[in-house]
């Protein structure tokens, strides 16, 4: 179903980065070394266990000593081990040092979504990179540990709150692969007040339906390695349209703002918890909430600009009845302009 994802070999996925070849070579080297050792040890064991099985008339020979043999099998593995260490370290250093001309993309991870921020300031929940160009990701997390993992690239790096980690790679051809979060970061699958049917979809780009699956496993993203033109087109599409209004000092027209707000809805991961269909997810659905009176733990509130702003910057201030205090704060991650765009979007969902 996901052609380009078909394994390159039985054991390993497709190779899509410049380092994959070396790593796979080493993988198979260890594999075959292990097979040889395994067959030797287990083979000898089975053979002797049968040959010298207990039977009338058969007597065990008392154990002797064989110093050279013992030294041999203590020392011989060292050579293999030194080689493995050396090769492994070499490969690791290749992964560690990014070339100076890398394209730098910032990655914000949070429970439970990825946000990729491109050099032009635009952002998207999917990772697009130009084919054959070195790309450096600078990763940070807003809450707990996550880990950025793309099997076909053979890269993985923990995303640690309070610090920046980096990962770099260079793709070898056009294609795509899954991004997974490989460090456990919690999560659940149902809305706050109870059961939601949980049906994974077969859509490879969105296997865990928004609003239902929120959790570590649902931090699924896509990595696209594309041609230069496609990448340029992509950059343009995420570029900030309201910028042009901001520079002229005019307010951004509501429809454009709402359109931008919708992007933020998917890029910043709101869709993980909020639907726009009226069905509640982990958080309340946004459909038709504008202007409504909402029951919260501190009484009734009217949903307006200020309330939405507060809900986003300080979500724990007022908790909508029936939901848990699980929404993370977006303070520091969302600009005033973006806030306005989200508000415009929610307003447009009347």
């Amino acid at each position: 179903m996901n052609e380009s994802n078909a394994p390159a070999t039985y054991q390993l996925p497709e190779q899509m980065s410049t380092v994959s070849g070396d790593i796979d070579w080493l993988y198979y080297f260890i594999y075959w070394t292990s097979v040889v050792l395994f067959v030797a040890i287990v083979g000898a064991m089975i053979y002797w266990a049968i040959k010298y099985r207990e039977r009338p008339g058969h007597k065990p020979t008392p154990t002797g000593h064989n110093m050279p043999l013992e030294i041999a099998w203590t020392v011989a593995p060292i050579f293999i081990l030194v080689f493995l260490f050396h090769k492994g370290f070499q490969g690791y250093m290749d992964l560690a040092v990014a070339p100076a001309n890398s394209i730098e993309i910032r990655v914000n991870a949070k429970q439970w979504s990825w946000e990729f921020v491109y050099p032009n300031g635009g952002s998207s929940p999917e990772l697009h990179v130009p084919e054959g160009k070195p790309v450096k990701l600078v990763l940070t997390s807003a809450d707990v540990l996550h880990s950025f993992f793309v099997p076909a690239l053979r890269v993985k790096r923990d995303v640690v709150p309070g610090m920046f980690t980096t990962v770099w790679f260079q793709t070898t051809h056009v294609g795509h692969d899954d991004i997974a979060c490989a460090e456990y970061c919690g999560g659940r699958s149902t809305g706050a007040n109870g059961e939601l049917p949980y049906e994974p979809s077969d859509d490879p780009r969105n296997p865990y339906p928004a609003g239902q699956a929120t959790g570590h496993w649902a931090m699924h993203g896509m990595m696209f390695s594309e041609t230069e033109e496609d990448y340029a087109k992509f950059l343009k599409s995420i570029g900030d349209k309201c910028d042009q209004f901001a520079t002229t000092g005019k307010p951004c027209p509501a429809d454009i703002a709402a359109e931008q707000g919708q992007k933020i809805y998917s890029n910043k991961g709101c869709l993980a918890c909020h639907t726009t269909t009226g069905v509640p997810g982990v958080g309340p659905s946004w459909k038709g909430i504008w202007g409504k009176e909402e029951a919260t733990n501190v009484g009734k509130v009217k949903i307006d600009e200020n309330y939405i702003r507060e809900s986003i910057l300080d979500p724990q201030a007022k908790i909508v009845t029936g939901f848990g205090p699980v929404m993370p704060t977006f303070r520091g991650q969302i600009s005033d302009q973006e806030l306005n765009e989200v508000i415009a979007y929610i307003e447009s969902l009347k």
Partner: protein, 271 residues
């Protein structure tokens, strides 16, 4: 300890009938010497585990000190060197009396042993009282560990425009660092403004000295138990293992403090 075990009565052969066993000898040991050696080895191993446990904290201390030398320097002026030094002397003295207790027990001087034990326990009490005053002063200044750091309930914390109600985790806007700064007079009379991350120093201070204080209490209980047994006449020239082991444990408690005092109270930033 070899001379000690040799001074013990000649071994009673293994499997000898019960009446040949001294009353303190447990059934699965052959000789008092064997029993003594087992107990002693056991205590040493236990002490090794204790040292490793504190070792973890010393590592944490080293790491944090390396990361925040300035904050550690600034904060350590808030510890009262006089009180710390007093406690050091008290503990060293108590170690001496503990050792003397063992000595007099070996010589079979039961009353003398009791006196030394009592002095040791009293020293421990003095130590804890001094510690109490130190802690109370810190609480008063708001120099508390972790997210309670600068808690206004106790202290003159500047709230930096943030409302702080109860002693709950403070959600800060920008990571890292909670938004509370503490202004207070340190032990040498200077007014200092401690940054929020000074909570690290006090966290380590409280965890390390707190765990140590728990050990002081445990040590006191052990010595008290030994004292009771001693006054009941359970020990003799031949059998004084509990006195010996109790004192050994007490030396450990002392030893840990010998490291804590300079590391927390004295070491500043090298200029």
């Amino acid at each position: 300890m070899a001379n000690v075990s040799e001074s013990l009565p000649e071994k009673a052969g293994h499997g000898e009938h019960a009446h040949a066993h001294p009353s303190f000898l447990q059934h699965h040991f052959d000789t008092p010497a064997q029993q003594f050696n087992a107990s002693k080895l056991g205590m040493w191993i236990f002490i090794a585990t204790e040292i490793l446990m504190f070792g973890g904290l010393f590592c944490a201390y080293a790491i944090w000190r390396g990361l925040e030398p300035d904050i550690f320097d600034q904060s350590h002026h808030f510890l009262n060197k006089i009180m710390g030094a007093t406690n050091t002397v008290v503990l060293l003295f108590s170690s001496l009396t503990a050792a003397l207790a063992v000595r007099s027990s070996q010589l079979g001087k039961r009353d003398q042993t009791s006196i030394y034990l009592v002095i040791t326990i009293l020293c421990a009490v003095v130590f804890l009282v001094v510690k109490y005053f130190e802690y109370a002063h810190k609480f008063h200044l708001g120099l508390l560990p972790g997210h309670c750091f600068g808690h206004p309930y106790f202290s003159a914390a500047i709230q930096n425009g943030h409302e702080v109600g109860t002693c709950l985790r403070i959600h800060s806007d920008e990571m890292p660092g909670s938004p509370l700064w503490v202004r207070a007079i340190d032990e040498s009379g200077h007014e200092q403004l401690l940054p929020p991350r000074a909570n690290m120093f006090f966290a380590i201070y409280f965890v390390m000295t707190g765990l140590h204080a728990v050990h002081v209490v445990i040590g006191m209980s052990i010595l008290t138990w030994v004292l009771v047994k001693n006054t009941r006449g359970r020990f003799s020239k031949e059998y004084f293992t509990p006195v010996d082991l109790g004192a050994l444990y007490w030396h450990l408690v002392d030893l840990v403090w010998i490291y804590l005092f300079p590391l927390l109270y004295l070491v500043g930033k090298p200029d």
